[in-house]
């Protein structure tokens, strides 16, 4: 057992306890949490800072607003949109509508939903069904992201997203999360999604894992991850790094999706990013975090930080 412990710490693997005390507790001030736990707030500050996010169409705050007339005012004649709980966690309560025929909406799976169904979903959201701790919530209506089809070969049903760990404004590690049949179309690693470690310098795949075990190719589409490379990598890096400036959270998880037309956009920020990214990258976080912690010059621009990250953390 002690041998395993020694081996893990030699590789700089961070455990939950160390993450909680050494990084989240130390660099993420509690009072900043609401900024990221409330997606509406995140979106507003991100938009103010000029960071690309899915467009906010409107919000439903009160039950009395939750009617067909008001919803119609928000969505206009758009055929696709997304309704999210503002304080949801783990992708709960997200209603995605990709197609519309008059007053009938269709989910990505083709399952139809009437106005009544949408209103019920919003009602659930407002009463706190999907929020942390069951607190009353606000429903956000967002423009539908038209996902870049580059990852279609690596995803089953759902859409992959990119998770970046940004430490004190430096992108230190990244991974692509691909949904699988086992994960039920969700991009959660512990539910069976595949995590693909990405090279910080280039955005190319390094290593892939499912259920914490290394794999070569996607279990459903059978495509080998070796050929995978994330496009728009050079825009994606500054985008994620600049989230530090808007949140001031030192240890931040940034979730990014690629839009067909707009390119990378920030979907969500996370003040308690998980540790599975280490397994996906087959690399411990600690050496990289220590390197940044040991830097004397702390006031660098986004560009300088990215330059540093590419120089120090790229495998290439």
């Amino acid at each position: 057992m002690f041998k395993i412990v020694r081996k893990l710490s030699a590789k700089g693997i961070i455990g939950m306890n160390q993450r909680n005390i050494g990084y989240i507790g130390k660099y993420n001030s509690r009072k900043l949490y609401p900024l990221v736990d409330d997606k509406l707030k995140t979106k507003i500050i991100a938009e103010d800072a000029g960071i690309t996010v899915p467009k906010l169409l409107g919000t439903i705050v009160y039950q009395f607003q939750n009617n067909e007339r008001y919803l119609k005012k928000i969505i206009g004649n758009l055929s696709g949109f997304v309704i999210k709980p503002s304080k949801g966690s783990g992708g709960k309560g997200i209603l995605v509508i990709t197609r519309r025929e008059g007053d009938i909406f269709f989910r990505p799976s083709g399952q139809p939903a009437s106005f009544q169904d949408v209103i019920r979903h919003v009602s659930n959201t407002l009463s706190g069904l999907y929020s942390l701790g069951g607190k009353p919530d606000v429903a956000m209506v967002e423009a539908l992201v038209e996902f870049d089809p580059v990852f279609d070969r690596y995803s089953f049903e759902g859409v992959p997203d990119i998770r970046m760990i940004v430490f004190k404004g430096y992108p230190v590690m990244g991974m692509l999360r691909c949904s699988t049949r086992a994960s039920d179309g969700k991009a959660n690693l512990h539910q069976g999604a595949v995590g693909v470690g990405l090279d910080i310098g280039t955005g190319t795949a390094l290593n892939a894992v499912q259920f914490d075990k290394p794999i070569e190719s996607h279990p459903d589409t059978k495509h080998n991850f070796k050929e995978l490379a994330v496009p728009h990598w050079k825009t994606l890096l500054p985008l994620s790094a600049s989230c530090y400036e808007i949140t001031n959270l030192g240890y931040l998880g940034v979730d990014i999706v690629l839009d067909k037309k707009i390119g990378p956009m920030i979907l969500e920020l996370n003040a308690r990013p998980g540790l599975a990214i280490q397994i996906a990258n087959n690399c411990g976080l600690l050496p990289r975090l220590k390197k940044i912690e040991g830097m004397s010059n702390t006031k660098l621009s986004v560009e300088q930080r990215i330059e540093y990250a590419i120089r120090e953390f790229s495998a290439g």
């Binding site: 893990l8 939950m16 005390i21 914490d212």
Partner: protein, 510 residues
């Protein structure tokens, strides 16, 4: 670094405080560290029976024992129904007094006292103390006077001083073939009482200073006995003890002195036909009770022992909660077990202590399983959160009462303890698990559910352990140590046990 340093100091201080107080209590106040140590205690009960005259106030007083050599007295009580009871000290003698404004018919009063052996205890009685009263010679009449006088003559020939006089007198009284004079004085069947009477009367004729000591032999199961009398004779320097049936003796080990001197043992005013009986019962009590009842330490005046016993019992279970918390901290920080709700396992463990483990486990699983089924229907009704949780609470109460009634009908009485389960917690558990089921699937529910139950069972085992129960209640200051451990674990940055498996891929490749 400074926060780590602060915590280090804090932890050291807490541990030092906790252990210091514990050692003080264990070493100086005699608190036993294990529950096993028991000490023998004799419970002595004096019962005064009398018939009240009626229409008159009743006042009864009983003289009480003073501090004894080798015996500690504890837990004295003189409460008797319908009587006002009080304690008084008159001329250095302690009395229990009972009073009642009006009484008629047979009356019964009780005085209870417990003794235990403690060689450190010494009475303040001084055997060198001079006799205060002059002995008045008893006036024998007729033939008894002659018999006594001739007996004194014989004894005097055989003795040199007061002590040897008493010794040979007693041996004459107890000889197998007694003199005619002795037979004459004692009568055909000499009782102990007449023996002591005659011995003291003859001593009084010689004006030898003596006193009667009344006391009890501490022997289990002695019921309805009288006090035993011993005789003390002053030899000019100190008091020498005699037993009128055997002669000169040392103070017997298991004898406690109830009364020294000749005053009446008890007195009843406003009543007649009074008698007093004593009974002795031996039992074994955890030594800590004695330590507690006995000591005068200031620390104890601010301890849990001053509380009434019902509150003490409440605290007994309250004080086990930190142990449960420690188990949760261990399992989550060091092992990495997932539980549904951080402290839900503690509350379940507390419920288990009432229901016993197996019944508790079965009931928990049954209630949660039925609850999950009903909750899945409720979720289809699409209710608002507060209404849904409230509905689940009512459903849980329904399930609990149904199970209770059914099992009562089936004769499974231990299921009745199901009411000890905290139903709000059960309802939240059902709610949380149901959401977990919908979002993460049944696997996660089983994982977190069994995690919670494992932690609950471990916490239960820790909380029901005799030693732990004993220590938590008797050494609550050890909570400083528990607090220190929890604070120290709060700074633990090492891996969790389960993470070693989670990060297995890093250790396997090479």
């Amino acid at each position: 670094m400074s926060s780590k340093f602060q915590i280090g100091i804090f932890v050291v201080l807490l541990v030092a405080l906790g252990l210091g107080l514990t050692i003080y209590k264990a070493a100086y106040l005699g608190f036993p560290l294990t529950p096993g140590e028991k000490q023998k205690i004799w419970a002595v009960e004096a019962t005064i029976d009398f018939v009240a005259d009626g229409d008159k106030p009743v006042k009864v007083s009983l003289s009480l024992p003073d501090i004894q050599d080798n015996y500690a007295m504890i837990d004295e009580s003189s409460a008797s129904p319908d009587y006002g009871a009080s304690m008084a000290i008159i001329d250095g003698t302690r009395y229990a007094e009972w009073a009642r404004r009006e009484a008629s018919g047979p009356q019964k009063l009780y005085y209870k006292l417990k003794f235990y052996y403690d060689s450190k205890i010494e009475s303040d009685y001084n055997i060198y103390e001079k006799p205060t009263e002059k002995i008045k010679p008893y006036e024998f009449k007729g033939s008894k006077k002659l018999a006594a006088e001739s007996l004194i003559k014989i004894v005097k020939e055989r003795s040199a001083d007061d002590v040897s006089f008493t010794s040979s007198l007693i041996s004459l009284f107890n000889s197998d073939d007694p003199f005619q004079n002795v037979k004459m004085l004692l009568g055909e069947r000499a009782s102990f009482q007449t023996k002591i009477e005659m011995v003291t009367r003859i001593l009084s004729l010689e004006e030898i200073p003596f006193q009667i000591i009344k006391g009890l032999y501490l022997k289990d199961g002695k019921r309805k006995q009288n006090l035993t009398s011993l005789l003390e004779v002053y030899d000019g320097k100190k008091w020498i003890l005699f037993d009128v049936t055997t002669g000169r003796i040392d103070m017997p080990d298991n004898f406690v002195i109830w009364q020294r001197g000749g005053d009446s043992l008890f007195e009843v005013r406003g009543g007649h036909s009074s008698k007093i009986k004593f009974s002795v019962v031996e039992n074994y009590v955890p030594a800590k009770q004695i330590a507690v009842l006995d000591r005068d330490a200031t620390l104890l005046n601010f301890s849990l022992y001053i509380l009434p016993s019902s509150e003490q019992n409440a605290f007994k279970s309250l004080l086990l909660i930190p142990i449960g918390a420690l188990v949760v901290v261990f399992m989550r920080i060091l092992v990495g077990l997932k539980t549904s709700g951080t402290f839900m396992p503690i509350l379940i463990a507390v419920a288990f202590t009432q229901t016993k483990l197996l019944t508790g486990l079965i009931m928990f699983i049954v209630v949660v399983a039925i609850g999950l089924v009903i909750r899945s229907y409720l979720s289809r009704l699409n209710l608002l959160l507060v209404a849904r949780i409230s509905a689940v609470i009512i459903v849980v109460i329904g399930i609990m009462s149904t199970i209770t009634i059914l099992s009562y009908k089936l004769g499974l009485y231990n299921i009745l303890s199901i009411t000890f389960f905290p139903m709000i917690i059960l309802s939240w558990t059902i709610e949380r698990m149901s959401i977990l089921w919908e979002e993460e699937g049944a696997k996660e529910v089983l994982l977190q559910g069994s995690g919670s139950l494992i932690v609950a069972v471990i916490a239960y085992l820790a909380m029901t352990n005799d030693l732990i129960q004993h220590i938590t209640f008797n050494f609550p200051e050890l909570y400083f140590v528990v607090l220190a451990i929890i604070i120290a674990l709060g700074k633990y940055t090492g891996y969790r046990l389960f993470e070693l498996r989670r990060f297995k891929s890093f250790t396997e490749e090479d």
